[in-house]
């Protein structure tokens, strides 16, 4: 074992205590050609392959689980290959980050509008594989909405170009089969490295927008009213540019906030204002007041209660449809589960309206709610993972998307079935542990 084989396990999820002896090689290719050589070598040796970008994913998918495997990092594939301002796209290697792309676009007054908070490290290859997005998905969509095409290498070395119309490949019979199966970008989005390794992307860019925004806040008597107001904004396709709900906060950090509340920023326009007033009792906020609330929200995950330490046990809950409009029920159920397992609710907040995709590629709109809790002392990794697994089940029962933003691929049966169908055609070989029945156990062993 060498240190570079161990360090490749570094990632932002709580699944980081890997069985390093299963890692058979770590590679940092610079070009598609180098990737191809590594893939063929893995194929020859019958090893699995796990692609890794910035390792900022929070599902543990970039660890590769417990398979005997090669790990391919794209951190050295970060070149911006072409910028077409006229046709509004950028061709880029998979290891580039949104920040790196936007640094080059800024002088051209163009922007790549995918802005996760992790944009300094998350790679575009990782972002399409998790279908990530920022707090502006309501306006700008998720990564898949901003992807025009991807190039991939499969386990047998075949090259694919996948776009919204289908697939092209140097293996014509494969191309035909995949097109018959209807493979598009939808399938690559959120596939968590299970299909192949992405070696290049063409992403959409748009002109930089500067518009005058005004801010407002509404305080609600209960969670249902908050959820219904968010739903009304969604139904009205209200042009929210920034929307943040603070749902709950522990008394040690709540200050003078009246919760739940919803802060919005939207374009200055009388007609819009009227529409908004009809939805809820929004009062105007000055720029300073908006900044104060944004700051309060940003600090929530960083502050601790007077006693105990807070953690993010399960970063995100995608409340939409009934789980949003009947939010009181959703929150009560989740909190009860947490408390049964010894976790005390600390804060809940998140962006709304937000957009994400479900496993069947339909769009979901709602609140991406982050949750922080005060952790009990002396829990083992396995016990903590048990709570995580219970939360996932609870989400599915309540119609909440588990981790809509950071993604939780392990319980998405629709998506998994689709991936398996495509893998039957293209062959497996990539990040297979996600599809294993014992994926939960493997994750539990890495907490």
């Amino acid at each position: 074992m060498r240190i570079r084989d161990v360090v490749i396990g570094a990632n932002a999820s709580m699944y980081y205590r890997l069985n390093f002896s299963k890692i058979r090689g770590v590679f940092y290719p610079r070009s598609e050609q180098e990737v191809l050589q590594i893939v063929l070598k893995a194929n020859e040796q019958g090893l699995d392959i796990t692609p890794k970008g910035g390792g900022s994913g929070l599902s543990g998918a970039c660890t590769g689980g417990d398979r005997e495997r090669f790990m391919i990092s794209t951190l050295q594939m970060r070149e911006i290959l072409t910028i077409s301002k006229d046709q509004r796209y950028v061709d880029v290697q998979p290891g580039a980050t949104p920040n790196e792309i936007n640094d080059l676009l800024e002088p051209l007054k163009m922007k790549f509008y995918v802005a996760p908070s992790s944009r300094d490290i998350a790679t575009v290859g990782g972002l399409i594989s998790t279908d990530g997005g920022g707090n502006d998905t309501w306006v700008n969509g998720t990564m898949r909405d901003n992807t025009i095409r991807v190039k991939m290498i499969l386990y047998n070395g075949a090259q694919l170009v996948v776009d919204w119309d289908g697939v092209r490949s140097n293996d014509k019979s494969l191309e035909e089969k995949l097109n018959r199966a209807g493979m598009t970008i939808h399938d690559v989005a959120s596939s968590h490295g299970t299909l192949g390794i992405i070696t290049e992307l063409r992403v959409r860019i748009k002109p930089l927008v500067e518009e005058e925004l005004i801010g407002g806040v509404a305080e609600f008597d209960d969670y249902d009213s908050l959820g219904q107001a968010i739903q009304s904004l969604i139904d009205a396709k209200f042009p929210v540019r920034y929307g943040e709900a603070i749902v709950q906060a522990h008394e040690d950090v709540r200050g003078d906030l009246r919760l739940p509340l919803l802060v919005l920023e939207y374009p200055r326009d009388d007609a819009l204002q009227e529409k908004l007033t009809a939805i809820a009792d929004f009062r105007h906020l000055s720029k300073e007041e908006v900044e104060y609330l944004k700051d309060t929200r940003i600090k929530l995950p960083k502050r601790n209660p007077k006693e105990g330490i807070q953690v993010a046990l399960f970063e995100g809950y995608g409340l939409h449809g009934k789980s949003l409009t009947e939010m009181s029920h959703s929150i009560t159920e989740v909190n009860e589960l947490l408390m049964e397992d010894g976790f005390r609710p600390f804060a809940k907040y998140g962006h709304a309206p937000s957009k994400w995709y479900l496993g069947d590629n339909s769009e979901a709109f709602g609140l991406v709610m982050h949750s922080r809790e005060i952790r009990p002392e002396g829990r083992s990794g396995k016990e903590i993972f048990k709570t995580v697994a219970r939360i996932v089940d609870k989400c599915l029962e309540l119609g909440i998307t588990p981790k809509p933003e950071h993604k939780w691929p392990f319980s998405d049966d629709v998506k998994k079935k689709r991936i398996m169908k495509l893998r039957d055609i293209i062959g497996g070989g990539f990040n297979s542990f996600i599809l294993d029945d014992n994926a939960g156990e493997v994750l539990g062993s890495m907490v």
Binding site: M1, V6, A10, S118
Partner: protein, 368 residues
């Protein structure tokens, strides 16, 4: 909670690390090294891994950019400091190459292993014609002055620094400052030992310097070297004596300065230890602006010369400055800086460079 356990492995510190930037593999990144500490219980029985890890700890310029970036408040510099000390303690044989440095510091109190008397010889020989009273300004028992100048090992011994020493002395003279240079009574500030995590060794050197500074009844100690300033201001326990960087000293002293005659565009390289670790950002720029120096800011990134990297891995150090040079397009530009160590790096990469004090001395001279 131990410091490194606060790291949530988010990766924000990866791309800003100069070492990761040149090598591009995760083990060279701050996150990578903290990760190794977090899972150390899983690998500590593997001797080879331990050895590799200890080596990695010294493949770092201690530029502090990781600490500055981290939003989880991990004090990475503190971690690197403690872990370096621990590494040398656990496996001294792996750091035999540092023995010469340690021996030199314990025997002759300078990093070059040269006779301590020579501290005041090289620059004296060079400069005594220009400054005939220079001898009087060299400290010996009984002499006192308002300002004590602490040159540091690099500026005392290296020919490449002579223009900076000249600039400093010239500016002090022009402004009629009551000053002394510590000369042969100056011991190394202890920074190199501190960078190896050897606090005890550094303390001995500091104790001597403090004594001299107090005996000279100085109110202020001035140094051009940010590394020395870290030691003087944070660890020398100088009491009422204020330790200042030369840019701070002259920016305070001179409300206005004459305008520089140089019209070319310079690039300002802000030394990591100066702006990031000591938080001195305003004064160098203020001085440049007072002199109406036309300069552009360079990225606030490391030159590759810190953290003893020149000694622990000179190739890596070269790679950092070469990449920096290429990225910042400084081929035909003179880089202004305010640190003898950065100056050495820039010179080694074939770049033209001046210290702010050289520009100041020129401007003051031109005025006369």
């Amino acid at each position: 909670m131990v410091e490194f356990d606060k790291c949530v492995r988010c990766g924000s510190c990866l791309k800003i690390c100069p070492i990761f930037e040149v090598i591009g593999e995760e083990q060279y990144s701050p996150r990578g090294k903290l990760y190794l500490l977090q899972i150390m219980d899983m690998i500590e029985n593997d001797k080879e891994l331990g050895k590799e890890f200890r080596r990695l700890l010294f493949q770092c310029t201690l530029c502090g950019r990781c600490s500055e970036t981290c939003s989880s408040d991990v004090d990475l510099l503190k971690v690197w400091h403690e872990q370096r000390g621990k590494a040398i303690h656990e496996a001294p044989e792996e750091f035999a190459y540092l023995d010469a440095l340690r021996d030199a510091l314990s025997e002759v109190k300078n990093i070059y292993g040269l006779d301590p008397e020579d501290r005041a010889v090289f620059w004296m020989d060079e400069l005594e014609d220009e400054f005939p009273n220079l001898e009087e300004h060299v400290y010996s028992e009984g002499k006192t002055a308002e300002v004590m100048v602490f040159l540091g090992c690099l500026m005392s011994f290296r020919g490449s620094q002579i223009d900076v020493v000249r600039g400093l002395i010239s500016s002090l003279e022009k402004e009629g400052v009551d000053y002394l240079l510590m000369g042969a009574e100056e011991f190394c500030c202890g920074h190199p030992l501190y960078l190896t995590g050897d606090d005890a060794g550094a303390k001995q050197l500091r104790d001597h310097n403090r004594d001299v500074i107090h005996k000279a009844k100085a109110k202020t100690v001035v140094t051009c070297c940010p590394g020395c300033l870290i030691q003087l201001s944070k660890y020398h326990e100088l009491g009422d004596v204020e330790a200042l960087h030369h840019t701070q000293f002259f920016d305070r002293l001179l409300k206005t300065t004459p305008k520089t005659k140089r019209s070319e565009e310079f690039a300002y390289h802000d030394p990591c230890e100066l702006h990031r670790i000591l938080g001195i950002k305003k004064e160098p720029r203020s001085l440049l602006n007072k002199m109406k120096v036309n300069f552009r800011e360079m990225d606030l990134a490391c030159c590759g010369g810190g953290g003893l990297l020149r000694m622990t891995d000179p190739n890596l150090s070269d790679k950092v400055i070469q990449l920096r040079k290429a990225k910042e397009r400084i081929q035909d530009t003179t880089v202004v800086t305010a640190c003898p160590s950065c100056r050495e790096q820039l010179l080694s990469a074939g770049s033209k460079t001046v210290d702010i004090i050289e520009l100041l001395a020129e401007a003051l001279e031109d005025e006369q």
